[in-house]
Symmetry: C2
Subunit: 253 residues, 2 copies
């Protein structure tokens, strides 16, 4: 049995607590947060809702708070000599002041009210001590089969790649939705293409399935599209991505 | 029974022929193309592989060639008074010289060796005569339940939105894949996030599920990411998309 203390009341903390409460082999000992109100959302998972100063040692203490708060939260933990990890993609393991430290980073974008199937989510782990890495590995196997050992530098690169795969694509979807709304076209018209694009990138290499006016360097269509875009920031995105696609595939031709 | 002539030997033509050959209620009368070699790929669908000048009138003649070739191909069709349509998202219906003309645009990105489930693909139709629109509607129902009546102006906007949803997101995937390859991180690490991002955008509105450093205006992470990107075109994409996300959500706050 692995005992777990969880610190944080955001989306990552909630989804982790929800999962740990369901699976065997681990016990949510205490959950700590600053906001008493938000902590009440965690009542279904444990009776032991506390402040950070009330935490007692557990096998693993997981800090799932915003990037900027991690270091301050870690320094308030009232015990030493037990493993403390954070869950952030872009933060170095070294920001934790503890001797026994690590990272437990589920590579996914968590939103409230969105179901999470942890079995499909990769977990990236890292620890300062080999036996703690084994402990994190053991915990991760309770969640997923997709466990990756990445050091802080690799994890930051994975997080950067995740920004392209998630944040930037989602903004492209948002612009497409806005175009549809403005022109009285149902956004549902694009759902099949949107999903197929993701499926193709997973089934093939994305660089092998690029299509479109930029790939063909079709300046007639490209200029027409630039005329159709009214907002300067959308024009800039169109220009920048188109230029990059032309550079990318121009080299290969 | 709807008789169909198909002109073209590319991916769209192949997938349409493959589908028409399978479904009841329509007959592939003739398939025409310039390249005799490429036409042989269509032998499983009909024995009548011809040149454009050998085409005989059919209920619907579908031109599925590259955008730039449509007008020239249409002018070579050796009959008048029967319906001729093209399949392009970005081309006006008016480029067809025929009196009875229309558009039959399957909104999907077609690649060779990629399976296509037409029942999930929306078809956008348009015609210069009401009875021809009904004919196209009848043909489209043989393929999909997702039929949309869009005029040329709306179809061009849908095509522009499709560029954001498909071409630009796929380039973002490509950059992510390149980062992973360079850092010895398996791209599979990002597959779950990539697919979840698409699923979320379909289940919710994409603007409701935006996350990430740009949304939070987290300048520390943003600057670190810009330092990590070595290629100037990737830096530009990161900057432009980040600025647009900040503008978009800054306004809403």
């Amino acid at each position: 049995m692995i005992t777990i203390n969880l610190i944080g009341t955001g989306n990552v903390a909630w989804h982790l607590a929800d999962h740990f409460a369901k699976v065997s082999g681990c016990e949510l000992q205490q959950i700590a947060g600053r906001s008493k109100e938000k902590l009440q959302d965690f009542a279904p998972f444990t009776k032991n809702l506390v402040t950070i100063s009330e935490l007692r040692p557990a096998n693993i203490t997981i800090i799932a708070v915003s990037d900027k708060a991690i270091a301050a939260v870690a320094s308030q933990i009232p015990y030493k000599h037990s493993l403390v990890v954070h869950t952030a993609g872009s933060m170095d393991m070294g920001i934790l002041p503890q001797d026994r430290k690590g990272v437990f980073y589920p590579l996914q974008s968590f939103s409230k009210n969105d179901q999470v199937d942890f079995t499909k989510i990769p977990i990236c782990i890292e620890a300062s001590h080999e036996e703690d890495l084994q402990q994190l590995q053991k915990l991760a196997t309770r969640i997923t089969t997709k466990i990756h050992h990445l050091d802080s530098s690799q994890r930051k690169q994975a997080h950067l790649a995740a920004v392209f795969v998630n944040n930037f694509t989602n903004h492209c979807y948002t612009i497409a939705e806005e175009i549809c709304n403005t022109e009285n076209i149902p956004f549902e018209l694009l759902h099949a293409l949107l999903e197929k694009t993701a499926q193709k990138a997973v089934a093939h290499a994305p660089s092998d399935v690029q299509t479109g006016p930029a790939k063909r360097n079709d300046t007639t269509v490209i200029n027409e599209h630039l005329d159709m875009l009214k907002k300067e920031n959308y024009k800039s995105i169109y220009k920048t991505l188109t230029a990059s696609i032309i550079t990318h595939y121009g080299k290969k031709l």
